[in-house]
């Protein structure tokens, strides 16, 4: 395949991916199968399709910041940045927040490109070493989620019971969220509840319910008034913030790309804690870098010649079509990441600029209702009525930490818990324990 044709498809993919990703909470993983299905009828060769999909992921990884920052509709990787992003938006700094995340993504892209000659040597070895241990690594993350919850009372209740209740309110809500999300995720994965034609979209309603709709409902109730946004000419971040945030994000993103079920956001939180990250700017930058390395990196692994490394939802479905086996394709992908990320960043600046100038004109509660309707239509069209029901239940679970002030991280048990059981070989036993049909 011609190098220029490969790059052309990456660029085309970035543009299409960016346009799709502006829509709140629309995940490129749920749109890509449509491209895969129509590609043969358009005469697009499988190898070119893969570069197009790489472009889609690059566009999504960069542009999806908009959905989180301006529309408060996060996904499973950005829900953790929702609070600082919303704070910045309320303070008229939405544009700055978007650019910070974009800067993080650019740092992630730079490092991914710079490391690409080494990654092809290192990643297969790392995967060989890590793969047999994934179950206990995931189990550790589950413990981390549980133990990271903390009481948020001030110990000022009038009676012992009042203090006890206040102390356990957030803890209990967190643990309840964890348990419900775990069982909910396990049933979705191992029960036969979703239509078989949409198995690929199996977790979509759950994620949309848990992370997006719950946030949007809170928007409707709190009716935040978004002020006119300022267009900053510089970022409230030092070079050290860029380096520290970028490094934490990259390490978190790489970790999440290697370990299934962990998302870039989660990887970034852990890497941030490991590197003693405190600053808000560092945090937002790290999420940008982490998301890019997580999404693009996981898909990029598929290009490693001779290894057929399939990581992440999109790689899984793309591998049904074509798995690159040539070094030339690998390095075209590297070039595609370099060029595509810059292009996506440019698009991010333009769209953020437009939104920053206009978002204050929009009633946020109405906007949230419109997004909920859009997401419901997407869920219904991909997974039917059962998908809608699953989304509603996910929303209810996702609301618990928001209302009771516990950590939303507990919702991640929806995917980590069932995968941990599966990798430990305990999924069958748990299914029997629940009395699920096998």
């Amino acid at each position: 395949m011609d190098v220029l044709i490969g790059l052309l498809f990456v660029i085309l993919g970035v543009i299409v991916g960016a346009l799709v990703s502006i829509l709140p909470s629309v995940h490129i993983y749920n749109i890509a199968p449509i491209f895969i299905l129509i590609a043969p009828s358009l005469g697009i060769p499988s190898s070119c399709l893969l570069f197009f999909l790489l472009g889609n992921v690059i566009g999504f990884a960069v542009i999806n910041a908009i959905s989180t920052i301006f529309f408060s509709a996060p996904d499973d990787t950005t829900f953790i940045v929702l609070l600082p992003a919303q704070t910045m938006l309320i303070n008229g700094r939405g544009f700055e927040a978007a650019i910070m995340m974009g800067a993080g993504a650019l740092i992630g892209a730079s490092v991914l490109v710079a490391l690409s000659p080494l990654l092809v040597l290192i990643i297969p070895v790392v995967l060989r070493v890590v793969n047999p241990h994934l179950h206990w690594i995931l189990a550790l993350f589950l413990f981390y989620i549980l133990f990271s919850e903390f009481p948020k009372d001030f110990g000022i209740g009038k009676s012992k019971w009042a203090r006890f209740k206040a102390a356990w309110r957030t803890l209990a809500a967190g643990y309840l969220t964890f348990i419900l999300a775990s069982v909910y995720g396990f049933i979705i994965m191992y029960g036969n509840i979703m239509p078989v034609e949409s198995a690929y979209f199996g977790m979509l309603p759950a994620f949309i319910g848990l992370f997006a709709i719950s946030s949007l409902i809170m928007n409707i109730f709190s009716r935040p008034k978004v002020p006119k946004q300022n267009i900053q000419r510089s970022l409230d971040a030092t070079k050290l913030d860029l380096i520290k945030g970028g490094l934490a994000g990259i390490s978190g993103g790489l970790f999440a790309a290697i370990v299934p079920a962990l998302t870039g956001g989660m990887g970034s939180i852990i890497a941030g804690q490991a590197t003693g990250q405190r600053d808000e700017a560092q945090f937002i930058i790290s999420i940008g870098a982490s998301r890019f390395v997580y999404y693009v990196g996981a898909f990029f692994f598929l290009f490693m010649p001779g290894f057929s490394i399939v990581r992440g939802g999109l790689a899984n479905i793309a591998a049904t079509v074509y798995i690159p086996q040539r070094y030339s394709e690998y390095f075209v992908a590297v070039a595609g990441i370099a060029i595509g990320s810059v292009l996506a960043f440019g698009i991010l600046v333009l769209i953020s600029y437009f939104l920053a100038n206009n978002i204050h004109r929009v009633r946020y509660d109405y906007l949230s209702i419109a997004i909920i309707i859009l997401l419901s239509v997407i869920v219904y069209s991909t997974t039917g009525l059962m998908g809608l029901f699953v989304m509603v239940v996910g929303t209810a679970i996702g609301l618990i930490p928001l209302i009771y002030g516990s950590r939303r991280l507990h919702c991640m048990a929806v995917i980590i818990f069932p995968l941990m059981l599966s990798m430990a070989g305990l999924a069958d036993e748990f299914a029997l324990l629940l009395g699920l049909p096998i």
Binding site: Y184, I187, G191, V196, A199, V390, I403, I438
Partner: protein
């Protein structure tokens, strides 16, 4: 402490004076002039909290009950990339001999659906079924492994790459749908095998060819008394004789009964035993007096009966030393033993000398045949000769 920090208290004690949303003083306005929030008619977050709690718990319970449905049955042609990781049921036939790797513990075989439908997207009609430990070990222990031609019902998780694969997670997810076997003759199979594909049958016959390849045994069995003299191929994959029951000790010339599936291989029927125990030895080949053979040479020669004889060398061909004349105590007549050229060449000098020594006694298995109207017993494999 600001009003917004403790809005609950303000709502109770100073209703209408401070905005419960932004905490600013609003007087008697029903809408906050600063943030636009309703001041009097508001939905308490408590209500939302209770609703979300009830909905979350009852929703998970409802999903739990919804999950009690069976996996849907699909045809190969219906499988699309979006069905990756779907748990589905496929009813069809096993079209490849199951392979069991005892190092990794992986068991795999291929199936087609009942209608042999073809998937245009993946360009195949086959699904590769993989079973991993501990399920594979359990299936081996239970002896519940299908063989070529078995009708099966498989429930598993689709794994789609450039091909269609399926992983079985539980031993209950593999059901072999075998009918009670029907006793048929080799002649019936020879005449009607097209309509018998996938049927369970019990057949008996004499082993007239026996080849031990790496990973399989290939036999030909025939009924000496049949009209067609058809030699039916029997394919015994490694998994059958190594992992599924105890194989009876049989060899060339023995009469055996096999229960298995009729399947097709390169336009010819073949019989695949269900397991090692479904091969039953009926009659072991024993040493036969030459007199008995000579009394009915037309039958033995035309049916190419495999015999075992204990004979003494009485002469050999002056030019072709692989043609040996023998007799035994049951008769004064002599019989020609033809040792195939390849077999003769493979013998050592000592063995050749023995076979060309008058009075040398040996046991051999051979196939009765006619060569230019003369009856002879032909030896086609070095292992047939027992020279003592």
């Amino acid at each position: 402490m600001s009003a917004s920090d403790n809005s609950g208290h303000f709502e109770e004690s100073q209703e209408g004076r401070y905005c419960p949303s932004c905490g600013r003083y609003v007087g008697h306005h029903s809408l906050c002039p600063y943030c636009g929030a309703r001041v009097k008619v508001r939905v308490s977050l408590k209500v939302l909290a209770i609703i979300s709690l009830i909905l979350a718990v009852s929703g998970v319970i409802a999903i739990y009950f919804a999950a009690h449905s069976k996996a849907p049955t699909v045809l190969v042609e219906q499988i699309t990339p979006e069905m990756n990781y779907a748990r589905v049921r496929v009813v069809g036939y096993v079209v490849s001999a199951p392979y069991y790797d005892d190092i990794s513990g992986r068991l795999s075989f291929r199936i087609v659906d009942l209608n042999w439908t073809y998937n245009e997207y993946f360009n195949t009609s086959n699904i590769i079924v993989n079973v991993y430990p501990p399920t594979s070990l359990e299936l081996i222990r239970l002896g519940r492994i299908p063989v070529l031609g078995d009708k099966v019902e498989v429930v598993g998780t689709l794994k789609l790459r450039g091909y269609i694969a399926m992983a079985i997670n539980y031993e209950e997810d593999l059901n072999i749908l075998r009918e009670a076997p029907v006793s048929v003759s080799i002649d019936e199979i020879a005449n009607n095998w097209g309509s018998m594909i996938g049927k369970s049958v019990t057949v008996d016959g004499w082993v007239v060819e026996y080849s031990n390849y790496s990973g399989m045994l290939l036999l030909k069995i025939k009924d000496y008394y049949s009209t067609t003299q058809y030699k039916l191929s029997v394919y015994i994959p490694e998994i059958v004789y190594k992992w599924l029951g105890n194989m009876t000790d049989f060899f060339l010339g023995d009469k055996i009964e096999i229960t298995g599936n009729i399947w097709e291989y390169r336009g010819e029927p073949e019989l695949v035993p269900w397991n090692a125990s479904s091969i039953v030895l009926i009659e072991k080949l024993e040493i036969m007096p030459l007199a008995e053979i000579l009394a009915n040479t037309s039958f033995y020669g035309e049916a190419n009966v495999i015999v075992m004889v204990n004979v003494t060398v009485v002469g050999y061909h002056p030019t072709y030393h692989n043609i040996v004349y023998v007799t035994d105590s049951s008769t004064a007549s002599q019989v020609t033993i033809f040792i195939d050229w390849e077999v003769w060449d493979s013998l050592g000098t000592e063995a050749k000398q023995k076979l060309n020594t008058i009075g040398f006694n040996f046991v051999t298995i051979g196939m009765c045949t006619f060569y230019k109207s003369s009856f002879e017993i032909a030896v086609y494999d070095p292992s047939w000769l027992i020279l003592g």
